[in-house]
Amino acid sequence: MKRTVLIACLLLLAPTTQSAEPLSPIESYRKLDFPPQDENFEKGWKDRVAADYDVINLADLTSLRAALKDGDPFVRSIAAYALGVRSDKASADALAELVKNDKEYVVRIRAVEALALLKMKPEVIESAKKDHDPGVPFVAKLVAGQVNSEIDYAAQIRHAYAAGIDREAMGSAVVGKPAPDFTALTLDGKPFQLSSVLGKKPIAIYFAAFDG
């Protein structure tokens, strides 16, 4: 009888479901409800931003390097970019391989960006200027000069990501409400705080895309 009660108690105490391990940053990115495909442009952007921050800030280098061979092109893309931002020079050969041979242009774009941040393989960046997809030569031409610059742009980007992002703050700019403050950089790399000019004069801010 005692034995039966003991077993019953143990069964009651045992978790009914396995407590799930938290997903790694790479796995979270892979499982985005709205991956960065064209048709999802207006959907799920907050999740994409949060996932980007997690991959760049938290993913371990071993996982990022392995993800360069992932079957999902968006996972390969974010891994390539993150390795550039993290200044992982050991990935240069693998990134060059992606630039030359990956079948998805978004991966080739991100790998070119990464090589420029690493300041390595300028000949590969040069060759990307002849890529058959127009998005790749555009980016190759845009970032080629970074290779010879003395400025560590990867460190600049890392520092910006390290500040993190508060999900509640995303999308908080609303008509009729105070303009949310933000920090950015001037062209000479000095910090600019919007609050330093707010409330003093009328302001127009355009958040731009390179071609828009």
């Binding site: 952007w45 921050y53 400025i151 600049q156 908080s172 700019a173 001037t186 355009y206």
Partner: protein, 130 residues
């Protein structure tokens, strides 16, 4: 880029209002500098900005992690029309009290839609200056 080029044509109106104009790129300072100083997209052609080397009048700001863009709700980080796009471009007008008074999401619906967009921004800046 057209939006910035058009604003440059209207810079006298902006200055008359004592207003400040900023353009934020979700890119590192290198690429933001190229955006500011080189007229890649509109240069060389026969269009209204074809002969100019720099067409950006607003003060450029680099937002390397796209944090400001996310706070302002314009971040996208997705493919669009064959390119990787960090932001959906938007205008914000802020008045003398620091309140957002106007948000414009350009439609790019016609080849010259940017003219109306910038005219609307100037009108809203006039109201914001009062």
């Amino acid at each position: 880029m057209h939006q910035q080029a058009q604003l440059r044509l209207k810079k006298d109106a902006v200055e008359k209002l004592g207003a400040e104009a900023y353009v934020v790129m979700a890119l590192d300072t290198y690429r933001t500098k190229v955006f500011k100083e080189e007229n890649w997209l509109l240069g060389g052609g026969t269009g209204p900005f074809g002969k100019e080397t720099s067409i950006v009048y607003a003060t450029p700001l680099s937002d390397p992690a796209g944090r400001a863009s996310a706070i302002y709700g314009v971040s996208r980080r997705a493919l669009r029309w064959g390119s990787w796009v960090e932001n959906y471009p938007h205008w914000f007008v802020i008045d003398r009290k620091g309140i957002i008074t106007y948000v414009l999401k350009p439609t790019f619906g016609t080849p010259t839609a940017y003219q109306d967009d910038v005219d609307n921004v100037i009108k809203e800046l006039e109201k914001a200056a009062r």
